[in-house]
């Protein structure tokens, strides 16, 4: 049920719409969708901003009325959210089966401005990071939030979800010291995969991307040892292959390539979000080379249990922040651009143009509207 429905229903049955409800279908009120449950729960309605993709390949910044937190949510005034260019480009083009309008974003940080009564771990004023969409203020469930340690900056903490995505893949890969790794794709996930597999002990690490533009970010003391473009990789002399091939591109036809470069008995780690359908041959790509294909997409993360190689969301998140706090993991150099959310339209337009130099883009929500959300209706 949305606001227009309420208005129409009232009109039909009462032939009268009170003046304050008359505004429901117009202006900012149009953006409000009230699930019946939210009415019963008496959730607050507050003014906020968000990024919306109304149709494929179009992004917009909008001011909207948002639902306040439930008793088990925290309300976060957002500082930064991170765009993951590869994933969001695919979503924006509608390649991963998402519908429009679509509200994107899944990694950000900010400050808690209020908590539901069931929340014990956080309180007002806490600096938190977690699964936060491109929206401010955002209501976030407690299990997707982490307190940011003192010596981790807000910009670093905004990488949290990306860090978790890669860390759970690294755990599932069960890397042994000295194993060679080939990382296919050097977007944000690929870059973090270089760095985290180095921390896990893999060596040497070869980063592969289509263009040279990402070499500088990939090859350094805390990342990959060597960089190859995909053409160079194809032309390279045949070797024994790599113990680990970490796939981060999401390309449907990557598996034959990955299996070509895996050592006999090696492992292919499927980290990217696969889009579209590709053709693979079990014999040629899996059975004969004797490779193991390990599905390591974030959607396979366990919620509650923790087993060897299967860490929970919470434990991965805490580990990420810990690694950053102890300067084991660098992320600052992955920020190519800080953008104003109001310029979302042009930011995503340049993203669609596939500028290979862009790795991570942060939306800076601090300048958007008042620091504190205005409560114009308290249930």
């Amino acid at each position: 049920m949305n606001s227009q429905n309420i208005k129409n229903t009232l009109k039909r049955y009462k032939q009268y719409v009170p003046p304050f409800l008359g505004r429901l279908g117009t202006g900012i009120w149009k953006s409000l969708e009230i699930p019946l449950g939210a009415l019963l729960e008496r959730r607050a309605i507050l003014k906020g901003q968000r990024i919306v993709w109304p149709v494929a390949e179009v992004a917009d910044f909008e001011r909207a009325l948002l639902l306040g937190p439930t008793s088990s949510d925290a309300l976060v005034q957002v500082d930064f959210t991170l765009i993951s260019p590869g994933t969001e480009r695919a979503q924006l083009q509608g390649l991963v089966g998402n519908d429009f309008p679509y509200y994107a974003g899944y990694s950000g940080c900010g400050e808690v401005i209020s908590v539901g009564k069931n929340i014990t771990r956080f309180q007002k004023g806490d600096r938190v990071a977690g699964r936060i969409p491109h929206k401010s203020p955002a209501t976030v469930q407690e299990q997707y939030l982490f307190r940011i340690p003192e010596n981790v900056s807000m910009e670093q903490a905004a990488f949290i979800e990306l860090g978790i995505i890669v860390l759970q893949g690294i755990h599932k890969a069960q890397i042994q010291p000295g194993e060679s790794a080939l990382v296919l794709g050097q977007g944000l996930i690929g870059q973090l995969a270089n760095r985290l597999s180095r921390i896990a002990g893999a060596a040497p690490i070869i980063a592969v991307a289509r263009s040279k533009a990402k070499e500088k970010a990939a090859v350094n003391d805390w990342g990959a040892d060597e960089f190859l473009t995909s053409d160079e990789l194809n032309e390279a002399e045949p070797s024994d292959g790599y113990d680990l091939v970490i796939e981060t591109t999401g390309d449907a036809n990557i598996l034959p390539i990955a299996s070509r470069f895996a050592r006999k008995g090696g492992r292919i780690i499927g980290l990217g979000t696969p889009r579209g359908r590709g053709r693979i041959s079990l014999g040629q790509n899996g059975a004969r080379p004797g490779v193991r294909i390990i599905g390591a997409h974030i959607s396979g993360i366990p919620q509650y249990e923790r087993a060897p190689g299967l860490w929970t969301y919470q434990s991965e998140g805490r580990l990420f922040l810990d690694l950053v706090a102890r300067h084991k993991l660098m992320v600052d150099d992955l920020i190519s651009q800080k953008a104003d959310p109001m310029s979302a339209n042009s930011v995503y337009e340049s993203l669609l143009n596939e500028n290979p130099g862009i790795i991570g883009v942060l939306f800076d929500w601090r300048s958007c509207g008042p620091r504190r959300a205005k409560f114009n209706f308290k249930g």
């Binding site: 109304p54 149709v55 179009v58 992004a59 339209n345």
Partner: protein, 383 residues
């Protein structure tokens, strides 16, 4: 047909973007020193309307009215209290006339415009500039030699909906322009070809290829060709057309299709008929890499863009309408008069008229030569 109430809900009302006029308006920046005294020549339907527009223009003054037939201008002269003159030579010899506005059959443009230029009168011409490029060249040459101003009545440019379209394109809302289309289907009828819709001045010059220069393309579509140039800033470089006379008792074409290419590689087409008995269909489409717009009958503009503009959000279609009624002809006269009096460049020049004629000429000749023809480029350097 004017002002039929649109049956749809217009999403944005004009008053929200009055700002459109403010930036480039001469009248806001220039003081009015003295009014330009313009004589209205020609007493047909359009001539009368134009005389009224001269009267309505703040910076201009109706100095006299002129027609070879005294009957058609008698009432007008009386109601505006200006001299009614039947002899054109006597009119242009008068010292109380600064400029002439010629609303006369196309084939008379050349001779009468050159006469006016020789008499050092500025020339305001009804569209088209001339029946063909050669004639147009003569007019522009004469005006340049005499040092008088020449302007052509492509005043559709001042329609608010056109101004808005231009602003949208200028603000890069459509991205790189990649195409345009003009569709015009209407009923002209025998009366139109015989002299005019009201029939107050009879004459069959519109039927004659030699006198009119052509049919629906040169008579009507010339406006859309011009305002698309104005909106997009693009020039047609190559054109091909097919046309014929199908249902009207005339020598000129009464239906035409045309395709053309712009200097940036964009493409376009025209389809038009003058014996379309159903509801009039008049639309101009412009599309680019990031959006499209459609100018429809009833002064409505439909916009879709992937980019936001002012309060219009991207990714959906907006119906922009409710524009104010503007006497665009008098706005054109007013701005021309102010530009002349203050020594400033005026908006619609002989160059615009000449280029319009060149495109039309290439289109007409392309059918006879059975191949697309390049449009000649303007032969003079702009001052």
């Amino acid at each position: 047909m004017a002002n039929a109430t649109p049956s749809f809900r217009i999403t944005k009302k004009w008053h929200k973007w009055k700002i459109l006029y403010d930036n480039e308006a001469i009248e806001d920046t220039v003081l009015l020193k003295k009014r330009l005294r313009i004589a209205a020549v020609g007493g047909g339907d359009i001539g009368i309307r134009n005389a009224n527009s001269i009267k309505a223009a703040q910076a201009a003054e109706l100095a006299a009215v002129c027609d070879i037939d005294p009957a058609v201008i008698r009432d007008l002269a009386k109601s505006y209290d200006v001299p009614a003159i039947t002899d054109y030579d006597r009119l242009i010899a008068r010292s109380d006339v600064d400029a002439v506005f010629l609303s006369i059959p196309h084939h008379l443009h050349t001779q009468m415009a050159i006469q006016a230029a020789l008499a050092k009168k500025h020339v305001l011409l009804e569209k088209p500039l001339a029946t063909n490029s050669q004639e147009a060249t003569k007019i522009v040459e004469a005006c340049r030699a005499a040092g008088v101003r020449l302007t052509v009545n492509f005043s559709f440019r001042y329609r608010p909906v056109i101004e808005l379209a231009r602003r949208l394109i200028k603000d890069d809302i459509l991205g790189k322009i990649s195409g345009t289309q003009i569709n015009l289907f209407q009923l002209k009828g025998t009366k139109y070809w015989a002299g005019g819709f009201t029939g107050r001045a009879t004459g069959d010059w519109r039927r004659s290829k030699e006198k009119a220069g052509g049919g629906v393309l040169i008579n009507t579509i010339c406006h859309a060709l011009d305002y698309l140039r104005y909106c997009t800033g693009l020039e047609v470089t190559r054109a091909f057309s097919e046309y014929g006379t199908y249902a009207s008792p005339v020598e000129v074409e009464d239906a035409i299709t045309m395709s053309y290419q712009y200097n940036n590689g964009a493409i376009g087409s025209i389809a038009s008929s003058t014996f379309w008995h159903a509801n009039k269909r008049d639309e101009v489409l412009v599309w680019g890499t990031h959006g499209s717009l459609r100018i429809e009958e009833n002064n409505v503009l439909r916009l879709w863009s992937s980019r936001p503009w002012k309060s219009l959000s991207p990714g959906k279609e907006h119906l922009l309408g409710d524009f104010p009624q503007v006497d665009y002809t008098s706005k054109w006269i007013d701005r021309f008069a102010r530009a002349v009096e203050n020594g400033l460049p005026h908006d619609i020049t002989g160059r615009d008229g000449w280029i319009n004629n060149a495109v039309i000429e290439a289109a007409y000749r392309s059918r006879d030569q059975r191949r697309a023809l390049s449009v000649e480029s303007y032969p003079w350097q702009e001052l």
